[in-house]
Amino acid sequence: MPKRLGLLLAVTALAALPGARAVSGRWSDAPVFVSVFWLLALCIAAAAAVRGLEPPRDVRVGPLSPILAGVLSAGLVFWNPSVVGVTLAVVPLALATHLRVLHAVRRSLLDVPFEQWEAAWLLGASRSQAIRHVALPAANKLRGRLAKAGAEVALGLAPTLAVLVLT
């Protein structure tokens, strides 16, 4: 799935949502193109999530996932601007955040040479001790990756907040 197409659809859907809400007042009355864009964005988010998972060694979640999750969340809030809608909107955002952070951590863990893992295990470190004392200090890119993931998640959160404010 081309990322640019996904981004284009997501941005268009985002741009259309507040306007449609302002004009129509209800999801069922929203223009058809808004529904189509929103559903397309949802499909892309689902496809990205499914294709991005490669157990057990790596979890690959593209940087678009939080943005697409944000589209889904915004749609949910738009559809039902109440406690129920907001609660439902938390789910995709939380999932995307979790996967994105997990992705950043796992990539950093995979950066650690196997010999260092082995040296730690041979010295009696448990798996969690090896992660804490060997992998994390060695993973000097982790901080940058987590910052990037945080920025993407914040970007994903923005449309939901925008819809909440506008509705």
Partner: protein
């Protein structure tokens, strides 16, 4: 930690389906020094890998047969970190952990739960002295070990294993990077180590017989 005995029977080690050791029948008493002698590929490292249960994280390695360490089956222990805390291992080439020289040598005591700073300090110094590297590093304990020469790094690795105070110490060609004088100094120091069973693998026949009264010959994976 008390010295640990080693007892294996019908022990076989396979690497990617190929037999690299065994069937091996070998009994080593607690506190004994044993040299494993054999050419490259004779299965010396295979025995060590079986003892440290490398097969638990290396899918290419398969170990079968009976192997007991200190009277307990090595395959029965579910918490492998506990098993490995009793067994120290030094390989031919050093692999340094992140952090400083001090962090490296203090690693095993800390992992075992030793929190008292003075106790850790004492253990680090004693280990570095035994490994004949204290004079080289005592003023540079807060530096990364990678700033030292390969030989010094190897001695830091040996100190790291000694700080673990293992009941069984496995030395897999540990003096490869060391000069003759330093190697002999270390050999003598290790021979005097109390409460530890030591198995040293080496392809050097003279070193094997000098280090231990008992030399086990391995030929093509079998015990001669």
């Amino acid at each position: 930690m008390n010295a640990l005995s080693v007892d294996c029977s019908a022990l076989e080690v396979r690497w990617r389906g190929r037999l690299v050791l065994g069937p091996l029948q070998l009994a080593i008493d607690a506190g004994e020094r044993v040299s494993l002698h054999g050419s490259s590929g004779s299965g010396k490292s295979g025995l060590f890998q079986a003892i440290v249960r490398r097969d638990a994280y290396d899918r290419d390695l398969r170990v079968t047969g009976r192997l007991s360490i200190g009277g307990q089956s090595a395959f029965a222990e579910r918490r492998l970190d506990r098993h490995r805390r009793r067994v120290g291992m030094v390989t031919a080439f050093p692999t340094m952990l992140p952090g400083t020289v001090y962090d490296n040598v203090a690693f095993a005591p800390r992992m075992a739960g030793l929190r008292d700073r003075s106790a850790v300090d004492a253990r680090v110094e004693a280990a570095l002295r035994t490994a004949a590297v204290w004079e080289d590093v005592k003023d540079r304990l807060s530096e990364p070990p990678t700033r030292f020469s390969a030989g010094q790094q190897q001695r830091i690795t040996i100190a790291r294993a000694l700080a673990q105070q293992p009941g069984l110490l496995l030395l897999d060609q540990p003096f490869t990077l060391l000069d003759t004088v330093t190697a002999q100094t270390l050999e003598s120091a290790l021979q005097q180590l109390p409460d530890t069973t030591i198995i040293m693998a080496t392809p050097d026949e003279r070193r094997a017989s000098r280090f231990a009264a008992r030399v086990v010959e391995l030929h093509g994976g079998s015990h001669a």
